[in-house]
């Protein structure tokens, strides 16, 4: 098991390193001189040259790459040259919106999706099953940000229960901060919950026809008990993989949804950085996003292997 985890970790580290290389290389290709861009077209060649030196733009690319990686390992993501602040701090501040949002959305989609999937599987072919699957089919087809707009119309304009957008920082008023994230996390959760419900249903239906369920029935358990004790636990395995992937994409998805609600999350930061050609900031933010995605996948893989020893053996050979 330790060997398996180590191998997965190695893969994770290599992926991150290659991703960093790709990002660095892509952004390095960018036409235009960042120093020139910051100083504007009226800058003298001397002042541009001075800033280039200051930003370390004159050192060779491999050296700059290693310096960047080395800095990140120590938590230094470089200085944003438009915001005049450390990139690490800027991103950290925004994660206070993005991460809770992704986590809330995940919790909601699990709390709604899994029970509905189990229910549909247990009532397979009945009206309830059809109803759940129709809702899920629709939920998958709804863009989460558009659902966010509809939620705002309903809860902020028609019912006036919740604010239409904006965000109060956690340290000022946690209650208001939480209220600000309710609608966005619901919006993010809808498609995810629909997918989960479908996957859970399929997995459970699959599992229900297995021999061990028949054995469990033969030893006197009712169908409900057999499914609950033996079926659900086995059906959760494929669901777990999906969950990991979902969380990874939820973090990326917040970038879009936060726009609807004017939330000051990572997306807003990145968008401004792109417009202002703040490459160091774009670089830092994308690598953080990829870190979030790959780390989630790593954790999922290891969790999967912990609950299912078969997988460990297969991938070790």
């Amino acid at each position: 098991m330790i060997l398996f985890a180590l191998r997965r970790f190695l893969g994770f580290a290599v992926t991150l390193l290659v991703a960093a290389l790709v990002i660095f290389w892509l952004l390095d290709l960018l036409p235009g001189d960042p120093a020139q861009f910051i100083l504007g077209i009226n800058a003298t060649p001397e002042s541009v040259a001075r800033l280039r030196l200051q930003m370390g733009l004159d050192t060779p690319a491999p050296e700059r790459f290693i310096a960047w990686i080395w800095g990140m390992l120590g938590g230094d993501f470089g200085m944003s040259y438009t915001q005049r602040a450390p990139v690490g701090e800027l991103i950290w501040g925004r994660l206070g919106v993005t991460l809770p949002l992704a986590i809330f959305a995940m919790v909601i989609s699990v709390a709604v999706g899994l029970p509905l999937g189990i229910l549909a599987a247990r009532r397979r072919g009945k009206a309830l099953d059809t109803a759940v699957m129709v809702v899920a089919q629709t939920g998958i087809a709804i863009p989460n940000f558009w659902f966010g707009m509809l939620l705002t119309l309903l809860f902020a304009v028609v019912l006036r229960w919740l604010p239409p957008g904006g965000f109060t920082p956690w340290h000022e008023n946690p209650g208001l901060a939480f209220r600000g994230l309710i609608l966005p996390s619901l919006a993010l959760a809808l498609p995810q919950a629909s997918i989960l419900a479908r996957v859970m249903r399929t997995a459970l239906v699959d599992v229900t026809s297995q021999d061990y369920i028949r054995t469990a029935r033969a030893k006197g358990l009712t169908m409900g008990e057999a499914v609950w004790r033996h079926g659900v636990r086995n059906a959760l395995l494929p669901v777990l993989t999906i969950l990991g992937l979902q969380f990874a994409y939820l973090v990326a998805g917040t970038i879009i949804v936060e726009n609807v609600f004017y939330l000051p999350g990572l997306g807003k930061l990145i968008y401004t950085a792109i417009l202002e050609r703040d490459l160091i900031l774009v670089r830092g933010a994308t690598i953080i996003l990829i870190l979030a995605v790959t780390a989630t996948m790593l954790v999922t893989d290891i969790a999967y292997a912990l609950v299912d020893p078969r997988l460990r053996e297969r991938s070790a050979s």
């Binding site: 893969g11 992926t15 290659v18 991703a19 990002i23 892509l26 952004l27 290709l29 960018l30 089919q137 629709t138 998958i140 087809a141 709804i142 863009p143 989460n144 940000f145 558009w146 707009m149 509809l150 705002t152 119309l153 902020a156 304009v157 239409p164 498609p191 997918i195 479908r198 996957v199 249903r201 399929t202 997995a203 699959d206 494929p238 993989t241 999906i242 992937l245 979902q246 990874a248 994409y249 990326a252 998805g253 970038i255 879009i256 726009n259 609807v260 997306g267 990145i270 968008y271 792109i274 050609r277 490459l279 774009v282 933010a285 994308t286 996003l289 990829i290 995605v293 790959t294 996948m297």
Partner: protein, 279 residues
Amino acid sequence: MKRLFAHPSLAIGLIATLIFLAIGVVSLVWTPFPIEQIDIPRRFLGPTPEHWLGTDNLGRDMLSLVMAGTWTSFLVAAVAVVIGMGVGVPLGLAAAAWGGPVEWLVLRLSDFIFAFPAVIVAILVTTLIGPGAPNAILAIGIFNIPVFARVARGGALSVATLDFVAAGRLAGLNNAMIAWRHLLPNIMSLLIVQGTIQMSLGILSEAGLSYIGLGTQPPETSLGLMLKDAQGLFLIHPLLTIIPGLAIVLIVIALNIAGDGLRDAIDPRLRQGNPNVLA
């Protein structure tokens, strides 16, 4: 063909998809009003006999915009599928036919690309070359590559154990010929089903990317761009967001139903949960 239409969901999904596609195609030659026709005095009209779906903040005809936007959405998603298939399928087939280090490399490569959600690719590409529909196509297309590589490899592996492949090898075919003559034709149905699913995901992604300004740019229009335009106004003029959003939902549902139906029609054994329904 008859077998295909024995499945009602397939017929419904396919017909609905074709209707939307036809609406998009018609927009190329005719829309009720020119989409770039700005007419401020007639803005924010509700539905009228002249403007069936009303007009937007610039007085443009909403029906015309939806028609043109539908075409953009289909086009972006379709080209992205072509990119995904064009790169992913050969990779997947190579992995199955050669095995060993080739397979290892293809699998690691697709793991690697999976670490880049379309949004991140779009961010990078936009920083590189500025915003525009091609970014969305590229971002979604890149995301499609590992999906098709995996489907192709998985399908090809199950075919590769069959006798006619062994016969082909005995007849002296090399790996490339095996992949081309025997593996590819036998996984076409799988690829078509996956293509339908990726089309619907592509339409959703295009909407998201255009909505945050990383996709289609004016004067072009797309359903996602219409939602972006509606962002500041929809609390007062809900129709501006409801109409394009509904169009997206209906198109995606049509494609999904067609995809599900296609899967059942082609191979009932495939009636499994599809792990690639993730956007």
